[in-house]
Symmetry: C2
Subunit: 345 residues, 2 copies
DNA sequence: TTGAAAGCGCTAACAT
DNA sequence: ATGTTAGCGCTTTCAA
């Protein structure tokens, strides 16, 4: 009955070759402990000989699972965000594989309705669970998914819902900017300015609060030292001009590398050395921070670790859906480069 | 027979509600033309009412296809590459969706054997086809996949095999650097230096050849004007120092933005204005090129278009596997920014 | 134009 | 410890 090797071998093929039933082969693959050692060896040999791999579709149909995790790609945005996501996605794929899952990428048909993509995959049972990444305030995804009893883990805490019952993983942004600020205080700075985003960004407020906290704990004044602008190089540049003229800071902490690069532009224009004359620290440890002269110190998010935690939560969720998982909060680190400057003591 | 709404509705549920057979519902979904208008309307209403979506696993099992395209994520590499892939992947996901496919991400278990990941997915019939991205010389993937009759499209021409029979899409790197060089010639430069990669990089040689061609066509000397280094900021920086001292170029074309930033460091150190004093053009239009002061002119690859072409080739491949597809070659564009400098006429 | 029968490859439940 | 039976939800083939 050996087919022309045209189609892949099935359980039946292996069973026939090994002289056992199909179920025994299935057990050999999924519950080897159930077989006697010699039977297992015989079946295993037949499997190897035929190069047998269980058919995914058949297994999925029977077990009502796809071993697939859905991840929605947000619309392209110019900026540092893509690189951030790249590190996360990479680690997510690796961690998922170790847990026996693959990652399925999707976008929404309609940019006005990000839910459409989720709905389709869910109703066609194409994925077992989702990883939700853009948990900005008012994003309806979490509530929508919970309502549909769709398993998901959020990367980003549930801002909108303090007693959300879904698992989430997030990075403590405030700790990141506090770290950056403390670093500059340790270097001997006392007039440390903040350039951040507009008030409507919760993440921006979060990052800002870390600067504020570190300054207050060191009993340093923050009056006139903060600025809120758009996340663009030009905005960071003009904010730095104003702050330098009016508040005379010796150091800047910025909500993004983009803003920090803007500060560096202003310093260069005024003949000031970033680092030696004025210290600058950015946020996200982007490609730009690593490349720009003389190296931009920057807060680095543990994205790889975040992905590992997300998969961990996912496994727990799929194993025992009833258990209410706690949120996981991770702490960023600081990459110290040239713009930190020398000690000022 | 209405289940407790616990599990998703099936063909049978729709059939019962519409008062037709299961097969008729299947036809309504897949071959609407076969139904009489009123029957179709009735079935369609039942589908909407129940929120029916065909079960993916069942359909896959029956049709022996998964509507999934496999994409291997290369190991993380610090550098500009990740941002490049991000644009490509994004567009690939969008184009795939329009063609009815999803993108499945995977990595190889073993970093020494990139084939392992392909083999698993192939034998378990988890994907219909692959998109292969790293087609460097000597990469065995293409040959290996062809041997196994696995459908795939390569992003990257088959360097190793001029008469390869698989479809491929690539970007004409030489045209890109020729474009950059011609741009500088048009601005009035005649001593234009090249900083590229070591000889073992085929892509590097390709990018270099465009500079060479444009220079020769303009009957300009290239003697002493080329350098081959590692792809790092420090390398670009020291290469620029040597070239400035020994060959007195007025402009640089670089094989990457990373190298171009290195050149800009050297210029800054010598009190020279990138653009006004010495022109610089990079390659890849990375985040850095867009951010760095005063804006780095750079060759931009049409990655979005490349992904569209890849999916187009994939569709053709899966529809009629026998047809030998031709390769598609796309041409880059040039993003002009501050480092291009003024006209010198 | 619609329906009935069969089976894709696998595993859960049960029987031996 | 191994085998038998049944069926997951769908589509292909053929009959009405």
């Amino acid at each position: 009955m050996s087919r022309f090797q045209m189609s892949a071998p099935t359980l039946a093929d292996v069973a026939e070759l090994a002289g056992v039933s199909r179920q025994t082969v299935s057990n050999a693959v999924n519950n080897p402990d159930l077989l006697r050692a010699d039977t297992l060896a015989r079946v295993q040999q037949a499997i190897d000989q035929l190069g047998y791999k269980p058919n995914r579709a058949a297994r999925n149909l029977r077990t009502r699972s796809s071993q697939l995790i859905g991840l929605r790609m947000a619309p392209v945005q110019e900026g540092t965000a893509s690189a951030v996501m790249d590190r996360f996605v990479h680690s997510l794929v690796e961690s998922s594989r170790e847990a026996g899952y693959h990652v399925l990428l999707f976008t929404s048909d309609d940019h006005t309705d990000p839910l459409a993509g989720y709905d389709d995959l869910l109703r066609s049972t194409a994925v077992d669970a989702f990883v939700v990444t853009d948990t900005y305030l008012g994003n309806p995804q979490a509530a929508w998914l919970r309502e549909r009893r769709a398993p998901f883990v959020a990367f980003g805490r549930p801002w909108h819902d303090p007693d959300a019952r879904h698992p989430w993983v997030d990075i403590d942004a405030a700790a990141g900017s506090a770290l950056a600020t403390q670093h500059l205080i340790d270097k001997g700075h006392s007039r440390i300015a903040w350039i951040g985003w507009k008030k409507d960004s919760l993440l921006g407020e979060e990052r800002r609060s870390g600067w504020l906290r570190a300054m207050h704990e060191a009993e340093l004044s923050t009056t006139g030292l903060a600025s809120r602008v758009e996340d663009a190089v030009a905005s960071g540049r003009s904010a730095a001009q104003v702050l330098l003229d009016e508040a005379k800071p010796t150091a800047f902490v910025c909500a993004s590398d983009t803003l920090a690069v803007g500060v560096m532009h202003t310093l260069a224009e005024r003949g000031l050395q970033a680092g030696d004359d004025i210290a600058v620290v950015g946020f996200d440890d982007s490609q730009v921070a690593q490349t720009v002269w003389p190296g931009l110190s920057s807060v680095r998010q543990p994205l790889e670790q975040a992905a590992v935690e997300v998969v961990k939560a996912l496994e727990g969720l799929l194993a025992t859906p009833s258990v209410v998982a706690k949120g996981v909060m991770l702490t960023p680190t600081l990459e110290i480069r040239g713009t930190s400057g020398p000690d000022r003591h």
